[in-house]
């Protein structure tokens, strides 16, 4: 969680600013399909990373390309991809359950700390460093591009490059955190921390700081709940982050009322 929370929290506020919440949900479903593909081609049940990374990264490229050039609104297009990957994932999962006991696949869908290995942690750390470095190097451009693409272009940034870069970084972060949070709930940890941070942040810096803090608190809180109550880690983390969201909602309202 020490690695995962800063990554997802750091990406979270950019996801919300760039209006990519639905895109993240579609990526979660794509990861589900990626798991099924990985298992079908013969990858180990506990590490179907080839299928997950391959399918999700390729899916991201296609989604961003089509989104950039189609005339339909972005959310409609992402909705099409969302439905497509979910349908494909369900069909493939049925095929998978002919080879695997269905209970074996549950941990991938809902996330489980009990299935996390040293290799998973090493991969998480490696991807985390790559994402953090790329994010830090391009942070200002990404933020400016999120707020005003023409202004970013004038400042020397390339919006199309930034759009692909951010989508790919988000994909990497989501895929690598799947085993802990689960395919069905991973988008919550990409969206809710920023939503909670927005309730109490007073500027861009505090927005980023609160986003990371909320993700971290939710991660740790979720782990405690998961361990104590023996429930799936993903569900526990989402419950924790949702709880924090409502606390910040009330705190934000109280602060505004006090100031007025």
């Amino acid at each position: 969680m020490l690695v995962l929370a800063p990554i997802l929290g750091g990406l979270s506020h950019l996801v919300v600013t760039r209006r990519m919440a639905f895109f993240s949900a579609a990526l979660g479903q794509a990861a589900l399909t990626g798991v099924a593909i990985g298992l079908l081609v013969g990858e180990p049940l506990n590490a179907p990373y080839g299928g997950m990374f391959g399918f999700c990264l390729l899916g991201t490229l296609v989604m961003v390309y089509v989104k950039r050039h189609a005339t339909l609104p972005p959310d409609t297009l992402i909705g099409v991809f969302h439905a497509l990957t979910l349908g494909l994932g369900l069909c493939l999962l049925v095929l998978v359950t002919r080879q695997f006991n269905v209970h074996q696949v549950e941990s991938v869908l809902f996330g489980s700390l009990l299935t996390v290995t040293d290799w998973d942690l090493a991969l998480l750390l490696g991807v985390g460093i790559v994402v953090a470095v790329m994010l830090a190097r391009n942070y200002n451009s990404l933020l400016l591009d999120s707020l005003s693409p023409p202004l970013a272009k004038v400042a020397g940034a390339e919006p199309s490059f930034l759009e692909y870069l951010f989508a790919l970084l988000l994909t990497l972060a989501i895929v690598v955190s799947l085993k802990i949070i689960g395919a069905l709930l991973v988008d919550a940890l990409v969206v809710v921390p920023a939503a909670a941070a927005r309730n109490i942040a007073r500027g861009t810096r505090s927005y980023l700081a609160w986003s990371v803090t909320v993700a971290f608190l939710a991660g740790v809180g979720g782990l405690v709940i998961s361990t104590r109550l023996v429930v799936p880690t993903g569900g526990a983390v989402v419950l924790a982050v949702s709880g924090i969201f409502f606390v910040t909602l009330v705190a934000g309202r109280l602060t505004v009322r006090r100031q007025s």
């Binding site: 081609v41 013969g42 990858e43 180990p44 049940l45 506990n46 590490a47 990373y49 080839g50 990374f53 391959g54 990264l57 390729l58 490229l61 296609v62 390309y65 950039r68 050039h69 359950t97 002919r98 080879q99 695997f100 006991n101 269905v102 209970h103 074996q104 941990s107 009990l114 299935t115 996390v116 290995t117 023409p150 272009k153 004038v154 390339e158 199309s160 692909y164 361990t227 023996v230």
Partner: protein
């Protein structure tokens, strides 16, 4: 006065042409495909399908010491007998009854060096046959049985190591577990053994029969 005139800069914002962008996208996609193929060629090198299908808290009994293999076989035998009695008597047999009939591993066995205290523990739909060793350093054993909930629809799962069907058609979820430090195991019901340090044992793996 011209010095006070703000300097303006004209920047022409031209989007990347669709074809150029497509070229970049295809190039990156090819690189991703190559990386995945290389990764898969390494990962799929081994042909041990049984171990491939296991989660970190699961193992196959062939990998365990001979003493544990013997206990595992006896537990399968004992479980089979308990299931027959459950089918005919509508209740899970007490350990004392199984021991009285000499059903292994509940009955006394002069060959076995480590003695076990066997318990039948029930909580809701979960039934545990729990074996706690009398000596430190010996493993504890658990047969976890999950009955269908009241009013649950029939389970369509095929019979395999995890799914046993009783004579009356009831499908049970069954699993066998070992705990390395048997003396630390409490005689309380176990519902999610992997969360308490237990390792699930398989004879042939979870997917072998469902294929």
């Amino acid at each position: 006065m011209s010095g006070n005139t703000p300097q303006t800069r004209d920047v022409q914002i031209k989007p990347l042409s669709m074809r150029t962008e497509l070229g970049y996208v295809i190039r990156i996609a090819m690189e991703i495909v190559v990386c995945v193929v290389l990764y898969l060629s390494v990962v799929l090198g081994g042909n041990n399908t049984t171990r491939r299908n296991l989660l970190p808290f699961q193992t196959v009994i062939q990998d365990r010491p001979a003493v544990e293999q013997r206990m595992f076989r006896e537990l399968q035998e004992g479980l089979l007998e308990a299931e027959v009695r459950r089918s005919t008597g509508k209740a899970w047999p007490e350990v004392v009854a199984l021991a009285a009939d000499g059903i292994p591993p509940f009955g006394s066995d002069p060959i076995v060096k480590v003695g076990y205290k066997w318990l039948l523990v029930r909580t809701g739909v979960y039934i545990n046959y729990l074996g706690i060793p009398n000596q430190p350093g010996s493993p504890a054993w658990l047969v976890l049985i999950q009955e269908p909930g009241p009013g649950a629809p029939p389970d369509p799962a095929k019979e395999d190591e995890d799914h046993h069907r009783l004579l009356d058609g009831t499908t049970l979820h069954v699993s066998t577990w070992v705990h390395p430090d048997g003396m630390r195991v409490a005689s309380s019901p176990v519902r999610i053994p992997q969360a308490e340090g237990w390792t699930q044992l398989y004879a042939v793996g979870p997917s072998a029969i469902t294929r």
